[in-house]
């Protein structure tokens, strides 16, 4: 595995008395998928929010390509090349799919304080937009209003927007949440296809999906990292088994077989 391009050390976030994320170390390298699993409330989404700059950590450090980005606001983190998707669909519902992706592609331009030429005159931005839509398999939906495409397609659109931003780190927060089995298979395939060239951090509850794509697996419980390593090794860990069994019937019902 190559050297990590995004790493966090001793990362913590307290909300009042609650340690949502507690002293977490994490690193992510190009061409790999680092999956994070754990029961609800384990602090996975908070961790993503810290990495993306949406939340400022209480303590700890985040480094991206040898640069300390701990204190940067979300839009600066995003511009550096760290893109994120959201657990709940977070798009521009009134715009077409094309316009959604165009905004993502435009965000990489040095400035959007451009007042004269029409937006779609910039060839490079247009190409990025079209390529991202094509990669995510949404070309046929380009001119459809985002609010009217299927839920699965909206999730694909989220990923297309990420790709249009040309980041090198993808933070995917439950990209399969709420999807039917067929749609899930498509998106897992999409993640697998795009991974080369990116460092992917993936939060996911769907264990089949996780084991299908993960190169590194981290298990979080109550804000702390319980286990981290190659998926096979984590699967055998007794601590993880206990933690998941301890969560009770909910985990068993959703088919979490470790």
């Amino acid at each position: 595995m190559s050297a990590p391009i995004l790493s966090a050390t001793g990362l913590s976030k307290n909300f009042g008395g609650l340690n949502a994320v507690d002293n977490v170390d994490l690193s992510c390298a190009l061409d790999t998928v680092h999956a994070i699993i754990g029961p609800n409330g384990a602090g996975k989404t908070t961790l993503i929010n810290l990495l993306s700059g949406d939340l400022a950590p209480s303590s700890g450090e985040i480094t991206y390509r040898d640069r300390d980005i701990t204190a940067l606001p979300a839009h600066r983190v995003s511009r550096l090349g760290i893109g994120r998707s959201y657990q709940r669909t977070h798009i521009f519902p009134e715009f077409t799919c094309w316009q959604n992706c165009w905004l993502a592609a435009q965000s990489r331009e040095p400035s959007s304080l451009r007042f004269f030429r029409p937006a779609n005159a910039a060839l490079a931005v247009r190409q990025r937009t079209e390529q991202a839509l094509a990669t995510a398999g949404l070309d046929s939906r380009a001119d459809t209003i985002a609010a009217t495409v299927s839920y699965g397609e909206q999730r694909q659109l989220e990923i297309a927007m990420l790709l249009a931003m040309e980041p090198d780190v993808l933070l995917l927060d439950e990209p399969l949440a709420g999807m039917g089995p067929e749609e899930s298979v498509q998106v897992v395939e999409l993640i697998r296809r795009i991974t080369p060239g990116y460092a992917v951090v993936l939060i996911e509850h769907d264990m089949d999906a996780v084991f299908a794509v993960a190169d590194v697996l981290t298990v979080m419980v109550d804000g702390v990292v319980l286990e981290s390593g190659v998926p096979e090794m984590v699967r055998q860990s007794t601590g993880v088994r206990e933690a998941y069994l301890g969560v009770g019937a909910a985990a068993a019902d959703t088919g979490c077989e470790l």
Binding site: I91, P93, W102, Q106, E109, S112
Partner: protein, 325 residues
């Protein structure tokens, strides 16, 4: 960009206005000029309300400030030359919009409404209570601005027809300019901010900067309208900056349909036109003295029955005609 049918309808409206000076007396020319100038003012507010998602309740601050600056720079015994007076008015307004915007676009929703209102009231009381420009009595601009090159006067806004046509051309140019800006990357970004600001930040846009620039553009155009408005009667008073004036601009935007640019202009024309109608004693008898009651009913009816305002109605009718063809 509105459809071809809507543009045709707008062209008819502009032509109908353009003949007013040919058939009407000075009273009607002034009324039509006020419609156009307040239309420019409302259109500038639509850039904030309808396209950036910023509901400003203090937009009159820039409208009135520009009028006061014109008063202050106009000599008492001669007309100010627009060649420098207009840039000064716009410059001061833009600067005020930059300062007020820098502090207020940090806030959202109802807080933004309150902060913009507070700043506008500060300016209102400044001109109301200070001796700088006549205090609560207001102040006169004895000679209306001219555009002169050396000793040759090219445009004299003292002529009511000249001021009317100058305003009408300004409206068309500003409308076209704003349509252009809204099609350009900047326009797409502010419209994205209106729909989902948080997502825009996640995409890497510094939304504060884009909202501020939008605020300054809107404030400066409001200043342009204020410059023309002060030239209509040659008089400025603190009421031009007051919250009622900001409120009327919001009513024009809502009446005409926000997020269309041309809608608020129609809103301004309708509001002044209907006021004129309701004040007519021959038509409404004793109620004409209480025309505000009728006006209230009119605004409520439009808002209730035409959610997208008069501009939305126009789009609907024009759209239906194109289907029939």
């Amino acid at each position: 960009m509105p459809s071809r049918n809507v543009l045709s309808a707008l062209a008819v409206l502009v032509l109908a206005l353009a003949v007013v000076p040919m058939i009407g007396d000075k009273y009607w020319i002034k009324l039509a000029t006020r419609m156009i100038v307040l239309g420019i003012f409302a259109m500038s507010l639509d850039l904030l309300v309808g396209y950036t998602g910023l509901v400003s309740f203090g937009h009159a601050a820039f409208f009135g400030l520009s009028g006061y600056v014109l008063h202050l720079v106009s000599p008492e015994d001669a007309a100010a030359n627009m060649a420098w007076a207009l840039p000064v008015c716009l410059g001061v307004t833009a600067l005020a919009a930059l300062v007020i915007g820098a502090l207020s676009v940090r806030t959202k929703g109802v807080y933004f409404i309150m902060v913009t209102l507070a700043f506008a009231q500060m300016l209102f009381y400044f001109f109301h209570d200070s001796d700088l420009a006549g205090g609560s009595d207001g102040a006169y601009i004895y000679f209306k601005p001219i555009l002169a090159l050396g000793s040759v006067v090219l445009v004299d806004l003292g002529g009511s027809a000249v001021l009317f046509y100058f305003s009408l051309v300004s409206l068309i140019v500003l409308y076209a300019g704003l349509v252009m800006v809204l099609r350009a990357p900047f326009g797409k970004v502010i419209q994205g901010i209106k729909v989902n600001e948080h997502r825009m930040q996640a995409l890497g846009f510094n939304t504060y900067l884009y909202k501020l620039v939008s605020f300054v553009i809107a404030g400066t155009i409001a200043g342009y309208a204020g410059f023309l408005f002060a030239s209509i009667d040659g008089f400025v008073s603190p009421e031009l900056l007051g919250w009622q004036e900001s409120g009327i601009a919001l009513v024009m935007v809502i009446l005409g349909g926000m997020g269309t640019l041309f809608g608020p202009v129609i809103g301004a024309i309708a509001l002044l036109g209907v006021e004129e109608l309701f004040r007519d004693r021959a038509l409404f008898g004793f109620i004409a003295a209480h025309w505000q009651i009728l006006m209230g009913g009119f605004v409520i009816c439009i808002v209730l029955f035409f959610a997208n305002g008069l501009g939305g109605l126009l789009v609907k009718i024009a759209g239906r005609q194109s289907e029939e063809r």
